[in-house]
Symmetry: C2
Subunit: 378 residues, 2 copies
């Protein structure tokens, strides 16, 4: 059973959005206890409506949480990184794909998604692993280097000319017609996967702020739902403040939030280096706005700030894609604004690997001869 995040009406599991208010649906809030186990799916089995079979897993989740001493000292806060780049296809998407695919297996042998890169690779990999045919719809602006990591798994890749925001809705429509279940960015079962990040964080740290790079809103909703479930289950005392982090070049949620609006508006000319969060009309945008009004916050960062933050994270040993670096860029702003207090425990959700998109990175190299190697170190 699915529930509309806006009006609360209930629908069967195969629905994807509320037919009345066109807002996203979600599963009920689950409550339970933490079990013993090596994998988050086993420890939090109480919080899922079906059994998450290990044989369907590619080893997603249970990613490291690292303390970043240099950045912490510099910003006079305690910064932790939840490193989602260590998932099977090197982004957080794998958590959502794993859970959603368990649902898909019951209803279809054909699955699809609309992707800027990360989700396409993730769906392609799990579909291959499970022997399900997959269709990945990518935008015409996708850089070439993001295609091979999707195509290698044997998916059918369709490069679609047209508005990326609209493609979300169109794909669901065509999927119904053709018998292809689309597990897009904020699919209700995908969100159930993302909530496991909150579980893992709560097991290790009582954070003050969790910074979440936000595009469709699915990840933000997932982490929020996870914390709400922990709170309702008396497993945590307080939910950390959740910070929605967007790129200034495509910030529909920030725009509405900062202007006190109830609904997001489409960004007409999205333009940011953070491709993975460049959704001009996020399908869970209004749902995220509703969560933000419960005492959470939203901030943006410019492309130059994002690239600077990417370098700074690498100086602490973490090479993330620009969309992930938005988290640190936003934290620096919030510390400067004194919105984040000194000494706070701040968790960055590092959503995807830097290897995914290396074109914008400029580095210096020196050429040496092996016969003259000693001189190169002078």
């Amino acid at each position: 059973m699915l529930i509309c995040t806006h009006c609360g009406r209930k629908y069967p599991a195969e629905f994807l959005r509320c037919p009345i208010c066109n807002e996203p649906l979600q599963l009920p809030y689950f409550e339970g206890k933490i079990k013993k186990g090596n994998k988050v799916w086993k420890r939090f089995a109480d919080f899922y409506p079906f059994t998450l079979l290990p044989k369907n897993s590619l080893g997603e989740g249970d990613t490291p949480l690292l303390y970043l001493p240099k950045l912490s000292q510099q910003l006079k806060i305690n910064i932790y990184a939840k490193n989602e780049t260590q998932n099977p296809t090197w982004s957080f998407k794998d958590r959502g794909t794993f859970v959603a695919m368990q649902y898909v297996l019951n209803i279809s042998r054909r699955v699809g998604t609309v992707s800027t890169g990360n989700m396409g690779a993730s769906v392609a990999a799990y579909a291959a692993h499970l022997g399900v045919k997959s269709y990945i719809l990518v935008s015409k602006e996708i850089p070439e280097e993001k295609l091979a990591p999707i195509g290698i798994y044997g998916s059918e890749i369709l490069r679609v000319m047209g508005d990326y925001g609209e493609l979300y809705y169109k794909s669901i429509e065509v999927g119904k017609e053709k018998g292809i279940y689309f597990i897009n960015s904020d699919n209700p079962f995908r969100v159930e996967g993302y909530k496991s990040i909150a579980y893992e964080l709560a097991e290790k740290i009582d954070g003050d702020y969790v910074i979440i790079p936000t595009s469709s809103g699915g990840l933000f909703r997932g982490i929020h739902k996870g914390y709400v479930e922990l709170k309702r289950s008396d497993l945590i005392e307080d939910i950390p403040e959740l910070i929605c982090a967007q790129a200034a070049g495509c910030s529909p949620i920030y725009n509405a939030f900062s202007q006190g609006k109830e609904r997001i508006e489409r960004v007409e000319h999205p333009n940011t280096i953070a491709h993975a969060i460049r959704n001009p009309y996020p399908p869970s945008g209004n749902a995220v706005l509703r969560i933000l009004k419960e005492g959470n916050h939203c901030e943006i960062a410019e492309d130059h700030e994002i690239l600077e933050a990417q370098k700074e994270l690498a100086k602490d040993g973490l090479f993330v894609q620009p969309a992930s670096a938005v988290s640190l860029a936003v934290v620096k702003k919030l510390v400067a604004q004194e919105k984040i207090e000194k000494g706070s425990k701040v968790i960055l959700v590092l959503t995807g690997a830097g290897l995914k998109y290396i074109l914008p990175i400029r580095i210096n190299i020196r050429d040496c001869s092996i016969n003259d190697l000693s001189r190169c170190f002078e």
Copy 2:
């Protein structure tokens, strides 16, 4: 204390090779018990000569072991993949770098390595994390796309004209002169990191064969040492047969092994798509040969077989770099030769992520219009 892998002479920890026979050194065999803990470093703390501090970790190790149903069925054996692509810099090198850096911190604030890509990124990341200055020596043939993932961490990259095999020795020499400790491919402390793969495998599976893509020989030696230690500690009954997997275009160890020679010879014109294992004169080549003679085996695969195996692994959900796919390519040959018996438990060590080198991958894309989407699925 270090021991020569050939003559058994003993040397202080700062030595890198035996000054008498020029063979690699290793730490003594450790024995112990398995402790409780989430991390392999804690569970196997008995097997390390110093404490491996969690604060120096980037979250390496404890990678997933996956059963591959499709390939298993196809080859009539049970194939498992140890997925080292889920390490912090997306290759197995991180295990070695983590352990070696703990040693480096005691003796130097400057570290170096000679790399085809994976090791450079790994050393650069850990050096950044630990605030140690790093020098990465790369070969002039390194593809451009492998440089950004090293340079981003702030290392000094030196592109060296000259023989890559020779660079290993030359770097150690210059390092001594300049006070830079080089943790190259088969550095004794690096090997101590790699042995943790054997520990993790033994915890989960009683394998018959472990297939190890082999370049310098450091990884092969590490996994072997780990199993020997487990056996000496009565933690396992039998050591699986270890298979050294090389690319036909650069197979110095296979050449010597198949001809029954005691020593490897330099490959004059190495040429393979599997860059990460293209070492024409592996510094632990003779040491691996000695291990092979204890009842282990070596096999090669051609580039077209490697690329085919890369695709087949992706069809099971795993996108690995060509050097890792050598493992599957070799297994297919050994099954065809009936060297590997039907029903055997075979473990592939998948050393590094496919994202590291995407240029050779060719994929098909179809262009569609959003207004005509339905027709694209016909």
